[in-house]
């Protein structure tokens, strides 16, 4: 297990290198949330989910992942490429013209691994519930995973979906909230307070877990626990504490790096802290 964890951490470091290089390469994009959620996505794709990098839209028999906070696309693209969905060289085209690697995830250019567009916030939970319902109708035992920003919970549609899933016993669904307390205009508690999220989701009828999203061991343990709770009549929600910008000291913990790209100097400083573990793209 220790060696597994070390291996996952090494992948995560390389993904973080990819993220800062991608946003630097196009001088736009969202490094903060991407860096914060890197460990979670690496754990999902390299350890937790049953999935096939020979991409098929229906994903029959597979576990599916939906990214609802589409702006943290860099981390997803890197993880998809590094798990074999497409060549890592394509990461260099992020946000550039004539690319499949769009600013926000899209199916339109047929990038393998993406099943729905996201970017306009609040829609991914509904979509994931739909795919979970189809899995049930098809007697497909695959699970459905979703990730949401905490600021995204200010969208009303999230709470429509929050009400629907427990009522309809959508228990093949494991959702996660990136609870970093930051959004574009500042701390969530200042912009629009989220209140007691654990109590809120429990009140809606979800089985709520908490985890440290920047501790690989804790992520693996919690996701395994979440998987063991599926099929018991309740959807599962994981409140995942993360540091925005985790892994790059000057980006950590501040909303200022939500949607800002590093300059050349900042890139060099960031890469100094993220020694290459695999080949750069």
């Amino acid at each position: 297990m220790t060696s597994d964890i070390e291996n996952l951490e090494q992948i995560a470091t390389q993904v973080r290198r990819d993220i800062v290089r991608m946003v630097h390469g196009c001088q736009s994009g969202h490094p903060g949330g991407s860096l914060g959620c890197t460990d979670y996505l690496v754990a999902l794709y390299f350890h937790i989910m049953t999935h096939n990098s020979d991409f098929n839209m229906d994903g029959t028999g597979e576990d599916l992942f939906f990214l609802s906070n589409g702006h943290i696309s860099p981390v997803w693209y890197s993880v998809l490429a590094r798990s074999g969905y497409f060549d890592i060289s394509e990461l260099a085209t992020f946000r550039k013209i004539n690319s499949r690697v769009q600013g926000h995830p899209a199916t339109h250019e047929h990038l393998p691994g993406i099943r729905i567009a996201s970017g306009s916030l609040g829609q991914g939970l509904s979509v994931a519930i739909g795919s979970a319902l189809t899995k049930k109708l098809n007697n497909d035992n695959g699970l459905v995973f979703t990730l949401h920003g905490d600021g995204e919970l200010q969208e009303g549609q999230i709470w429509e979906a929050a009400m629907f899933a427990p009522h309809n016993k959508v228990d093949n669904l494991i959702s996660t909230i990136d609870f970093n307390g930051q959004q574009i205009d500042g701390p969530t508690e200042k912009v629009l307070s989220l209140g007691n999220l654990k109590a809120k989701w429990e009140a809606f009828g979800w089985d709520v877990l908490e985890m440290n999203g920047n501790d690989m061991s804790n992520i693996i343990t919690t996701l395994e626990l979440a998987k063991s709770k599926t099929g018991k009549g309740k959807p599962i929600m994981i409140l995942m504490q993360t540091n925005m910008g985790h892994g790059v000291d000057f980006m950590m913990g501040s909303h200022k790096w939500h949607g800002v790209a590093p300059n050349d100097e900042q890139l060099a400083a960031a890469l100094d802290q993220l020694q290459s573990t695999f080949k750069d793209y």
Partner: protein
């Protein structure tokens, strides 16, 4: 003027309900979702026969569109049902991102479109939905004219791969199309061949166009009447062929003049064959409460309006 008669009148939404049931019987992947308007959308027969394939969403239309988009992943063909207003304006962004941009095989089925919703008034009478839906790349937009055509359209869209907006209504209207018709998406239906004016009508206005055609015939005007049940993709060939013959146009629809069928026709003609055109449509306004027929008269969507528009279009020819 070809003679059209009817023995029965029904609402087009019941045509949807009948089509949905039959589509469900034909294809086990057809599923239905509704936002607390099962009775209004005539979904009961489907629910009774396929309870496990029906999903009551509650009053949460945004969630309904998202769930429908997600259900296509794995091969389901979701039909969502609510009023046209809540099927479009309320959920435009959800349709745009999760359905149209993501190219999902969702059928957005919208009842109570337009003024003929009647007494509930303008909050519920959407007159902008065709415009919103046709602007979305990849979206097919269909507005059938009677019970039989709505049923046939419902069956056709179940077999068609891609996002569709299907628009129908509340009032009881004559059934004048064949019960065994084959509905071809994107193919206009020649109702009556004529040479003096082309009347392109959609939805509830098709029957009114036929009545107008009879009055025009008595005046010695030979009107060509074409049912444009598919607003997008538009049957450009049928329109251009007709206009080349008649040289003037009336478009008739239960929709705002801005953004509707008339706009699509005018764009086509501007690019290919600029032609005088008169609009029978709501003149950029909201509706109000009233009996459907009163409203259609007040907002200029009746038989008389089509007759006058045809006369005016003919007068403008060659000027």
């Amino acid at each position: 003027m070809k003679k059209y008669t009817y023995t029965e009148q029904k609402d087009t939404r019941s045509g949807f309900g009948a089509g949905l049931l039959e589509a469900g019987r034909k294809n086990p992947n057809v599923v239905a979702l509704c936002a607390d308007l099962v009775g209004s959308l005539k979904m009961d027969p489907f629910i009774k026969e396929f309870p496990e394939r029906f999903f009551q969403i509650g009053i949460a239309e945004a969630n309904m569109i998202g769930i429908a988009a997600g259900m296509t992943i794995g091969g389901k063909i979701p039909f969502t049902g609510t009023f046209a207003n809540f099927s479009t304006g309320r959920v435009y962004d959800q349709i745009r991102q999760s359905v149209a941009y993501s190219d999902k095989n969702v059928k957005i089925c919208a009842s109570h479109a337009g003024l003929t919703l009647g007494e509930d008034g303008a909050t519920h009478q959407i007159l902008e939905d065709i415009g919103m839906m046709k602007m979305l790349p990849g979206m097919t937009v269909i507005n059938p004219c009677d019970f039989n055509q709505t049923k046939a359209a419902t069956l056709a869209i179940a077999e068609f791969e891609g996002p569709v907006y299907l628009r129908f209504g509340r009032p009881v209207v004559p059934i004048f199309t064949d019960s065994d018709q084959k509905f071809e998406i994107g193919k206009a239906w020649m109702v009556n061949e004529g040479k003096d004016v082309s009347i392109f009508a959609t939805g509830h206005l098709v029957w009114k166009a036929i009545q107008a055609g009879e009055i025009l015939a008595e005046m010695g005007i030979d009107a060509e009447i074409i049912n444009i049940h598919t607003i997008k993709p538009l049957d450009e060939k049928a329109i251009l062929t007709s206009v080349a013959k008649t040289g003037c146009v009336v478009s008739a629809e239960e929709h705002n003049r801005l953004g509707g069928l008339g706009d699509s026709i005018a764009q086509l003609l501007a690019r290919n064959n600029p032609t005088p055109q008169e609009y029978v449509a709501v003149d950029d306004s909201f509706g109000e409460s009233g009996v459907p027929e009163q409203l259609m008269e007040k907002y200029g969507l009746n038989v008389d309006s089509i007759v006058k528009a045809a006369q005016k279009a003919i007068q403008r020819k060659g000027k």
